[in-house]
């Protein structure tokens, strides 16, 4: 990759990191194996250029010339989150159609349970310059790990000349996002909102503010997220502060409020995605939640009382992104597969099952009036899902209005590791402290 965006080399190795270290000079070889200089200063997300300096592991990879040399191997290893793709009697219609038309076999594995643990699994291979075993991985933008991957040069840049579907059909939400300008490395899989969910049978007059999470009326029955980035962000929202424009002193204020919430005995526990089970069980009655979980829960008539709130403070929006890790064995197959999911016909089938925010607005029409192979697939899926496709198509949770998208709040874009550490030092003790 020939482009060198400005003073990128300096940004990777922060002099501050060496303060307090004994004098130690890294040989270039060490730097390569250890990952570009054990940088504690990483320019993340905010578009500092994801620059490729001399010495990054993906130097020279992902260029037009490099992509031109890639061949199809007719297989691809796809790592994704669970329950995130259409499934019909143990098979995936969208993937089956892909294989039928392109002859590329997809080994789909639902091995991403959360960003940190998945990153912990792949990092050793990447740090050692070896393949991870996956060609496509899906990582969220609201945890540091995606930023680490980009900064450390562990992803293969995409060639958008080979992604016609994406170029034509990608929605404004996922096109050229702030955390990955020009979609250099990522193509969104789905987006979603973090909001407030509650049991409408047990919570009368929920109102429309995130303050319900801090309401003493529900003491001991409120669920909060154990992810410090989610927790801190909702604390900021509750104070009326935009997370993306917050300052460190804002973070301290939010931490104070959240600590107070804990001391007041309001929080039942800090959950990962398992909050949804406790909401169903009645252990909690109101909780931070993910938009798609509530939709999926409602498919079971027993849980139709679970409701998604759209707080006046706004919804936090995140995106799960498909990326190709370095040393992937089948990059061209991966890119082909990724682009396949931007066809509106494919997305209609996936979205009918998923109910998160669709990256392809044209899929809405396809749900209402399917024009191709998806017609049969949608029909076959209907008994499993139990709802007509029009419900998904007309859902504002799946195809939000542009106004609602504009009103959604992104997460704070961390500029370097110090900021990440400052944030986690504030909010982790609340989650795991006594």
């Amino acid at each position: 990759m020939a482009t060198n965006d400005g003073d990128s080399t300096e940004g990777l190795i922060d002099p501050a990191f060496f303060r307090g270290l004994t004098q130690r000079r890294y040989s270039r070889r060490q730097a390569l194996t250890v990952g570009a200089g054990v940088a504690s200063s990483l320019f993340l997300a905010s578009g500092a250029g994801a620059s490729v300096a001399h010495g990054l592991p993906n130097a020279g990879i992902g260029t037009k010339a490099w992509w031109a040399k890639q061949k199809l191997n007719h297989k691809v290893d796809f790592a994704n989150w669970p329950y995130y793709i259409d499934v019909l009697k143990g098979k995936h219609p969208s993937l089956d159609h892909f294989t039928a038309t392109t002859k590329i076999k997809v080994n789909y594995q639902e091995v991403v349970q959360d960003n940190a643990s998945f990153y912990a699994k792949i990092r050793p291979s990447l740090a050692a310059g070896q393949a991870t075993g996956y060609d496509i991985m899906v990582m969220t933008n609201n945890n540091p790990e995606l930023g680490y991957l980009i900064e450390l040069g562990w992803l293969i840049p995409l060639d958008h000349a080979k992604t016609p579907n994406f170029n034509k059909y990608a929605g404004p939400l996922v096109r050229n996002p702030p955390y990955d300008p020009k979609n250099k490395y990522t193509m969104a899989w789905q987006s979603g909102w973090t909001s407030v969910g509650y049991n409408s049978k047990l919570v009368k007059n929920p109102g429309d503010s995130v303050h319900i999470l801090f309401d003493k009326k529900y003491a001991g029955k409120v669920g909060m997220f154990s992810d410090p980035f989610e927790l801190g962000s909702v604390g900021l929202l509750a104070l009326g502060i935009e997370p993306a424009h917050s300052t460190e002193s804002d973070w301290a204020k939010a931490a104070k409020k959240l600590q107070q919430q804990k001391s007041d005995g309001i929080v039942a526990a800090y959950y990962d995605q398992s909050y949804i089970q406790h909401l169903k069980n009645g252990d909690i009655v109101v909780s931070q939640c993910y938009s798609g979980d509530i939709f999926q829960a409602n498919l079971n008539s027993k849980y139709k009382d679970l409701t998604l709130m759209v707080p006046k403070e706004g919804l936090l929006i995140w995106t799960d992104n498909m990326v190709i890790p370095l040393h992937a064995a089948n990059p061209l197959d991966a890119l082909t597969c990724m682009d396949y999911f931007y066809s509106p016909l494919t997305q209609s089938v996936v979205e009918y099952y998923n109910d998160y925010i669709c990256p392809v607005p044209a899929a809405k029409q396809q749900l209402l009036h399917p024009t191709g192979w998806n017609a049969a697939a949608l029909k076959a899926l209907k008994p499993e899902i139990g709802l007509p496709t029009s419900v998904t198509a007309n859902s504002l949770v799946v195809f939000p209005s542009p106004a609602r998208i504009k009103a959604s709040h992104p997460y704070y874009p961390f500029k370097n590791q110090e900021e990440i550490t400052a944030w986690t030092n504030l909010f982790l003790p609340i989650i795991q402290g006594a």
Binding site: E110, Q113, I276, K302
Partner: protein
């Protein structure tokens, strides 16, 4: 004191059924069966809910009863990651049990047979064993992760075996040693007298006699391995054993197939139990 006024002398031998004795006789067994029932209770719930239907939405276990179905047993392999994790755990447990039992038994023999003069460093070995049993699993898991990362060893099946054998050896040694300690050496001496060399003696005399202890140790090692979560979580890399997979999958909910596998494992255990009764009956 004459014999017939001596309290309970006869009682210990012949156990006359005075009223107090009658109650006492049933108290312990009843209590023990209650404890076993308490232990089995969640298993019973698990087995019951492996036959529970799921209505609507994702195929996750529903904890309210929706009706009986054997669907999950028919579709037992429908969750690919789960099936792979299960077989991995079985293979892992078998391999690590064999290795740990052999190593642990040899070590136990060395520890029992030889005094410190003949076995320099015996105290150190005992202290290491002690430390191994005493160390919290999370410390062992974290330290192993540190080792593998430092040495750049990719984490997978091999690292899992290394870890599982590591924490099983001490348990096997302790179990076998406890059995060996009461072992009557005169039988071995008799074998020597009859001209057997140490290897033959071991094979034909010692091993059969300590076999119950060795089997107990092996059983312990197997149970430890198949159930291990903490250490495995740290060193498994991308090949998850069964408990690690289940833990990771619990976020949104668990597929009913998890309960199917759990039931299967439990039935195998029950099978062993019956086998042991049969063998015991045969022996006598």
């Amino acid at each position: 004191m004459s014999l017939d006024t001596a309290p309970d002398v006869k009682a210990s031998r012949e156990r006359p059924l005075g009223r107090k004795r009658k109650v006492g006789r049933f108290a312990l067994p009843t209590y023990s069966w209650l404890v076993i029932a308490y232990l089995v209770f969640p298993i019973a719930v698990m087995i019951a809910y492996s036959f529970n239907r799921v209505i609507g939405g994702l195929q996750l276990v529903s904890f309210s009863w929706n009706g009986f179905t054997t669907l999950w047993y028919q579709q037992w392999s429908n969750v690919p990651g789960l099936t792979a994790a299960f077989w991995l755990s079985i293979r892992l447990a078998l391999v690590s049990t064999v290795v740990a039992t052999v190593l642990g038994t040899l070590l136990a023999i060395a520890l029992v047979r030889y005094r410190s003069q003949k076995f320099r460093g015996k105290i150190a070995v005992e202290q290491v064993l002690f430390l191994n049993i005493a160390a919290p699993e999370i410390v062992m898991g974290a330290s192993l992760l540190g080792l593998f990362v430092t040495l750049n060893i990719g984490r997978g099946f091999v690292t899992l075996v290394l870890a599982h054998v590591m924490f099983s050896i001490a348990y096997v040694t302790v179990t076998v040693r406890a059995r060996l300690a009461g072992f009557d050496r005169s039988l071995e001496e008799a074998a020597y007298d009859l001209g057997a060399n140490p290897l033959t003696t071991f094979r034909l005399v010692t091993l059969p006699l300590i076999m119950p202890g060795v089997l107990a140790g092996a059983l312990m090692a197997f149970a430890l391995s198949i159930d291990d979560f903490v250490t495995s979580n740290f060193v498994s890399g991308s090949s998850d054993p069964f408990p690690v997979w289940v833990y990771g999958a619990t976020r949104v909910g668990i597929p009913p197939q998890v309960f199917v596998f759990g039931t299967f494992i439990f039935m195998v255990g029950i099978g062993f139990a019956f086998l042991s009764i049969v063998l015991a009956r045969k022996k006598s």
